[in-house]
Amino acid sequence: MAMSDRFLPLAHTPERATSETALTKAVLIGIAGLFLVAILFFPLVTVFIEALRKGWGTLFENFSDPDTLAAIRLTLLVAAIAVPFNAVVGLAASWAIAKFEFKGKNLLLTLIDLPFAISPVISGLVFVLLFGAQGWLGPWLVAHNVQIIFAVPGIVLATVLVTFPFVARELIPLMQSQGTSEEEAALMLGASGWYTFFKVTLPNVKWALLYGVLLCNARAMGEFGAVSVVSGHIRGLTNTMPLHIEILYNEYNFVGAFAVASLLAGLALFTLLAKSLLEWRFAGELAASSRRN
């Protein structure tokens, strides 16, 4: 059994005393590979193939369509608000949780993780129930002429909710494992709290912060369910890129839909690339690489 391992041409690592036969390994790798190609690779490649079905010219035309541009602008705006906000919340939460002892920490951690457990549609529904015309604060909002649902503020809120835990989840375990001694040293040397935070704490978590921001951003730009519920689907005004994709698709403008989709797919690939790079080079400074979810 061990003998046939020598026939496996690909192994770089020393032979293990216990291992499957080369044939078994090849078969298993083959099945896994086929599965991944069918389930992962195919859909990704399809996006680009369909986007280019009518050629590069049409592709760029689709990009410069005014409604598409509006959707891109809105997506960027929402991300530009949601991501920094959640990054700040993540930093505040991890400072409180990692550097201090207090009761109720576990409860706080669970609450922060809550948005992950909720269906995106429900994440949108709750804001409709709060700010919608028949919602809790609905009448008050109408009276003061404030538009949240079916307008940009609602989209921003729903996106913030859905991406709330991303940065915190990356920072908290890392800061917990780093402890408080460097901060204590800084304070003893005469630094103020803020000076310590910016000069000592932040540099120690910068890669994990970037990692969290990357994931948060990918989700913020790609969110569909929650935003779909709170948006009014008004072309050119309250459509993010994912919603715009839906509209184009429902109008049977498949090439157009895939064109916009290809932009988001490109973002996904960039995110994956950046993410892998960070994991690869800074594994020790990202708690994420030991706890993936």
């Binding site: 001694s181 040293a185 003893m188 005469g190 000069k199």
Partner: protein, 261 residues
């Protein structure tokens, strides 16, 4: 510059666990005092309480005439060297040492030129010339130790506190650094307290030794005083090793006859 430290009836509990049970200690300006004891004796808690990193439940700490309670952590001007050094791993040696000076509020902050001069002076003092551009990860344990010390000295502290300064180092480096610390202390004259569980270290280095057990100071005195008149049976057995080693050292120092072929 260097002040006496007075501790009065300090008490500290962690939850229901009493770490310090009414500890009092007087340290003269410029003295080098060791806090010696087994683990769990409260010596690190005492050191941290003097530093202000732990809030005592009762008692007082005085730096000269000033009640430490009236000072915030920043204002205490205490040079603290942590057991694991707590160097800022993302900063070069230079920036680590310069940190305390740069962190001062604008009005009292020296210029970069002055800071640079000071840092180089300190690097020379701790015999780490030429290493200012290295990162902590690129240094040996003994070197990191000395950077931590230089960093603490940079702020011209009233008091120098060292938490098991040589604990993480191997025996040979420990011996060298012990001698070096003694010389450094003689040169700079800071009031210094250091925590250790190593009896030889305490007896070799310190002007006076405070022996702690279970949250209380059992005896304070010079090495000679303690060896001659241990106050309790616990101390007697604690220093047994030292007395034996001293006797052996005296034995080996006698002239020998060496026979060789």
């Amino acid at each position: 510059m260097s002040v006496p430290v007075r501790v009065r009836n300090l008490e500290k509990n962690f939850g229901r666990y009493p770490a310090l049970k009414g500890v009092s200690l007087d340290v003269e300006a410029g003295e080098l005092v060791a806090l010696l004891g087994p683990s769990g004796s409260g010596k690190t808690t005492l050191l941290r309480a003097i530093a202000g990193l732990e809030q005592p439940d009762a008692g007082q700490v005085l730096f000269g005439d000033i009640d430490a309670n009236t000072l915030s952590l920043r204002e205490r001007r205490i040079g603290f060297v942590f057991q694991q050094y707590a160097l800022f791993k993302h900063m070069k040696v230079f920036d680590n040492i310069a940190f305390g000076l740069r962190a001062r509020p604008r009005v009292s902050r020296p210029s970069e030129v002055v800071i640079k001069a000071k840092v180089m002076e300190l690097l020379h003092l701790v015999q780490l010339d030429g290493l200012e551009a290295r990162y902590p990860a690129q240094l040996s344990g003994g070197q990191r130790q000395r950077v931590a010390l230089a960093r603490a000295l940079a702020i011209e502290p009233r008091v120098l506190l060292l938490d098991e300064p040589f604990g993480a180092l191997d025996a040979r480096v420990r011996k060298d650094l012990r001698k070096w610390l003694r010389e450094l202390h003689q040169r700079t004259g800071h009031t210094t307290l250091f925590v250790t569980h190593d009896q030889d270290e305490a007896f070799e280095l310190a002007d006076r030794i405070a022996i702690l057990d279970h949250g209380r100071i059992e005896q304070v005195g010079t090495a000679a005083e303690i060896l001659e008149r241990p106050a309790t049976p616990f101390i007697d057995s604690f220093i047994e090793g030292i007395a034996r080693r001293e006797a052996q050292a005296r034995e080996w120092a006698k002239p020998h006859v060496v026979v060789s072929r």
